[in-house]
């Protein structure tokens, strides 16, 4: 990582950018103008983002207190907390909260563990390492909808999917013609969504953890090995503590993305059989039931929940950033 100075050092690097107390009124005015000149390049992005992302959230909060179903436009009015009461007492929504948590935790944890294993395998030199890395990244680069369709129709399908096809083939090798042919998407609906997402997210975890492994000081490992440390000791006492931040970062970013997943749930099970997560449920309330008020209240609940996750995520990223800055 490059050397970088701290904020005060940077400011000091351009003298005159900030007027000090000794400067006269004229100096202060040019100082303020310079401050604005510094801020100017930032403003378009900031204004754009506030208008496009923050205003809709404010509107969502307002609508969440409104009785508003698009199918009954005349019946519109102030609803106070009715929508929220409906949200918290709706068993379908409560189960979708559970589904979201289960789906996210399973996908993030399993792909984190698999990603760690793969990153450790790839952290050593062997023939064709670049090719293996490319093969492993591929699942992450398949368009998510395409991947969901691939799993649903080409792999899971009970009558001609690759999984059951392979079972028939393997049983056939042993002369049996009654191989088990489970209908994966109805037998284990949530697991089939999870497996397809784990397949897509493991490469992501692997990439971040591999970058972490490669930033580890090689001489410490070498010294430990010279002192007779076993491979497990090195992993437990050197690699893992070093990787902690990277594990946190990968888990939190993964959580942020997987919590919002819509494509896999929408495509593979259409939210049926207890696989409807929050984004899918909101989509359904809004798109199919046309209940704007309730959909907004659901949205507000989701935002509050993700703020909790986001606070932890931001703190982790912040500590990485501080480490970089003070280096």
């Amino acid at each position: 990582m490059p050397t970088q100075t701290t904020e005060p050092a940077r400011e000091a690097a351009s003298p005159g950018a900030r007027p000090d107390g000794a400067a006269g009124a004229g100096g202060r005015r040019t100082g303020r103008a310079k401050d604005w000149a510094r801020r100017a390049p930032l403003l378009p992005a900031l204004v754009f983002l506030i208008v496009v992302t923050q205003l809709p959230f404010v509107a969502t909060v307002v609508i969440s207190f409104t009785r508003w179903n698009a199918l009954a436009p005349d019946h519109r009015g102030f609803a106070a907390f009715a929508n929220y009461r409906a949200v918290f007492t709706d068993p379908a929504l409560r189960s979708s909260v559970g589904t979201t948590v289960l789906l996210t935790v399973t996908v993030v944890l399993v792909s984190l563990v698999l990603g760690l294993g793969l990153a450790l395998l790839l952290d050593r030199s062997f023939r064709g390492r670049g090719i293996v890395r490319t093969l492993l990244i591929t699942p992450f680069l398949v368009v998510p909808v395409a991947s969901a369709l691939l799993w649903k129709h080409a792999l899971y399908n009970a009558s001609y999917g690759l999984i059951n096809g392979s079972l028939t083939w393997i049983w056939g090798l042993f002369g049996s013609d009654n191989a088990p042919q489970p209908d994966w998407m109805t037998a284990v609906p949530l697991a089939s969504v999870e497996v397809s997402l784990i397949w897509q997210w493991t490469p992501f975890m692997m990439l971040i953890l591999l970058a972490g492994l490669q930033s580890r000081a090689a001489d410490a490992v070498e010294a430990a090995r010279m002192d007779g440390a076993t491979a497990f000791d090195i992993f437990r006492y050197l690699t893992l503590p070093h990787l902690r931040r990277y594990l946190e970062l990968a888990a939190l970013l993964g959580t942020v993305y997987v919590v919002q997943n819509f494509d896999a749930v929408f495509t593979i099970t259409s939210g049926g059989l207890g696989t409807a997560n929050l984004p899918y449920t909101i989509y359904q309330t809004f798109y199919q039931a046309h209940d704007y008020g309730r959909a907004s209240a659901q949205g507000v609940v989701v935002v509050v929940c993700s703020l909790l996750v986001a606070t932890f995520a931001l703190r982790t990223v912040s500590s990485l950033l501080r480490e970089e800055v003070t280096r």
């Binding site: 970088q4 100075t5 351009s14 950018a17 100017a40 390049p41 930032l42 992005a45 496009v52 992302t53 923050q54 809709p56 959230f57 609508i63 793969l118 395998l121 050593r124 023939r127 390492r129 293996v132 890395r133 591929t138 992450f140 680069l141 398949v142 368009v143 909808v145 395409a146 991947s147 369709l149 691939l150 080409a154 001609y160 690759l162 096809g165 083939w169 992501f204 990439l207 971040i208 070498e222 090995r225 970062l249 990968a250 970013l253 942020v256 919590v259 919002q260 819509f262 495509t267 984004p279 909101i282 959909a295 949205g299 989701v302 935002v303 993700s306 931001l314 912040s318 990485l320 950033l321």
Partner: protein, 282 residues
Amino acid sequence: MNRAPLTRRQRRTGSLLGLAAWLCGIAFFLPVAWMVLTSFHSEADAATNPPSLGAGLSLHGYREFFGADSGVSPWPPLINSLTASVVSTLLVLALAVPAAYALAIKPVRKWSDVLFFFLSTKMLPLVAGLLPVYLVAQNTGLLDSVWLLVILYTSMNLPIAVWMMRSFLAEVPVEMLEAASIDGAGLTTTLTRIVAPVALPGIAATALISFIFSWNELLFARVLTGIVAGTAPVFLTGLVTSQGLFLAKVCAAATVISLPVLVAGFAAQDKLVQGLSLGAVK
């Protein structure tokens, strides 16, 4: 790393681990390989049990995808996707590069607060803002317009792009900037001679990531577009029919639609992790 001569046992473990890595790589790649192989099978061969690996290859799936029988052309959605992704990526760069400059090269006061504001917008689920966006679009005639997607994709990728560009621009050596200002170099000289060489690879990587995320997006495109502005992912979900065989066609479509992302992703492999981790990991 290991300078001591390897014992035979160490070498054997080493090659076993290499083999394990290869097997994992192949296992993860297998579904994609199966998708591509199926796309080149006829519909009848694509839907057999057990799978017909050695069946003759055919371009039938691709011809179907391009509307040979149905007469439905995939070009309008592909062009919509391309427009939404490319234009929003250009907008993202136009907004993010100056912002990152203000955050990294000559940091404004409280620059890290600003940075975290950008990031926090990324943490909020998009779906929560969907309804107001829909209502505004309905009232302004932007519903089923690709330009609405351009605006939304820009806001979706802007925070990532600002973070990424900031981490690239932070690599610009401060001493050289100082030296340039002492030598009386103007802004243009500073930008072209010192900043650009460091920033250009970063801009390319940021553009690729932004392109990939826009190209992949389904939820907004599905809710906010219809017949006119539907994008490739929306088109893809519409290919599945309740009657007849469609597996080869769907695999062909999935392959074609994933191709730009695969190419972009492989090209930016080294920068991919930096982008996905918002510049926190290099």
